[in-house]
Symmetry: C2
């Protein structure tokens, strides 16, 4: 969409508990916002179970197709924590005990560092650790793959140690117009014209209220890397809607993106 | 894991707004719970943007690899709503206007049925409609692919019309033990032994509280299709933890799965 080449990324969510519905994933949204703020394009995400073939295949495919791959889940001490094994296999390297990781675990657990916990010191050959300020047991980076915990609080904390390692891109700015009193279908034609006239921008449309009760309408989100182009397009779209749909009592105003 | 063959499923979440972080997806969890309750194994999920190649490729791969594919998003009236086009392309069929869908839209919109809204009457050849009791514009089923809205309230409502079409499997039962006072690493060995002894069951381990403040410990989730086998394994695991970790002041009790 733009002349600026931005890095691309994929996310891999690992865990039976997500696919059974027991746990509602929140890491994808955290990562999406993190990457968007850095100007990195998140292109796709996958969720797989604690199944070696699925994990290995996804790591290979996603790390080959994108500049960065971020995984969450499966790096704890129990038998179903197989992410490190699968990433090592996918990258074709060994999984030896890492001295630095072992030292961290020894400090954390002392006498309680049993065999199960010691598994968390195994890091793929050539990998570097990702600091875990919550429970110490580290994540790791190997090549363009960043392997993080599944517990949201830990995953989020690990991003502090991940961010400085990433090549950032041009930030994508987003502007949101709230269009009240008409439905998505009423603004669709104007939106198509705006999209056709502005090929470096993306235009999204998100209905709210469903037209059934009270306030209803459509939020239009326009995104692009050039702020001036974006601003001109948003103003033009706002005016076009106001003029064209004046007889429908439409109200158009800019709002801050939803938090 | 079991002698009973259960249907498998995949989910495809479609929409730039999920990958930019603007919108937090909730449909995957809704679908995961829906499928689990029907005894259908959700094996994987993917999230892609409003990008034809990505959607077509994912629909082809996931519908070929699983008994069912459920998609959400991209079936509205605007230019970025391209799911029907992509599903038709993936299935190698045309995308004509469907009389039944058109009649529904005519009833809903009357004079306001413009060209943009009329796009929603295009249904892949051979497809059948999925009723939308919220805003009327239907989803559709073609082959083993179920195409639904992205708005969570609408997606959820569409499941009422989807459920009767699915072959159900043996229900997977889940039992949860809450283990207080010790960490994941303390129960890991016992959990591995239990998993080795019960190959038809799955054992998951989910830490809580991180051992930093107040209450902490691990939730153990045991899942399986045979209730008697499951029950025996849960009781045995509970006793093994109580006996082995008695000197650590461990408390083990069964809790209801988290809602």
């Amino acid at each position: 969409m733009s002349a600026v080449i931005s890095p691309t990324a994929a996310v891999l969510i690992i865990g039976d508990e997500i696919l059974s519905g027991r746990t509602k994933d929140t890491n994808l949204n955290t990562l999406a916002r993190f990457l968007t703020a850095l100007g990195i394009d998140l292109k796709e995400a996958r969720t797989v179970g604690d199944t070696p073939d699925q994990i290995i295949d996804a790591v290979r495919t996603l790390s080959a197709n994108h500049d960065y791959l971020f995984t969450t889940g499966g790096i704890g001490p129990t038998h179903d924590d197989i992410t490190a094994d699968c990433v090592a296999e996918a990258m074709g390297v060994g999984l030896p005990e890492n001295d630095e990781a072992l030292a961290i675990l020894e400090r954390r657990y002392g006498d309680e560092l049993n065999d199960a916990r010691r598994r968390m010191a195994r890091i793929p050959e050539g990998g570097s650790l990702i600091a875990n300020p919550v429970t110490d047991a580290p994540g790791f980076q190997i090549g363009n793959v960043f392997v993080m915990a599944g517990v949201p609080k830990i995953m989020t904390a690990m991003l502090d140690d991940v961010a400085p390692r990433l090549r950032v891109g041009a930030i994508t700015h987003a502007r949101t117009l709230k269009v009240e009193g008409v439905g998505e279908g009423d603004v669709a034609e104007l939106l198509t014209a705006a999209a056709d006239a502005n090929r470096t921008l993306s235009f999204g449309s998100y209905p709210f209220g469903h037209g059934t009760v009270g306030e209803y309408g459509t939020q239009l989100v326009v995104r692009g890397r050039d702020a001036a182009t974006l601003s001109a397009a948003v103003e033009a779209l706002k005016e076009a809607i106001e003029v064209t749909l004046a007889d429908r009592g439409v109200r158009v105003f800019e709002v801050q993106p939803e938090a």
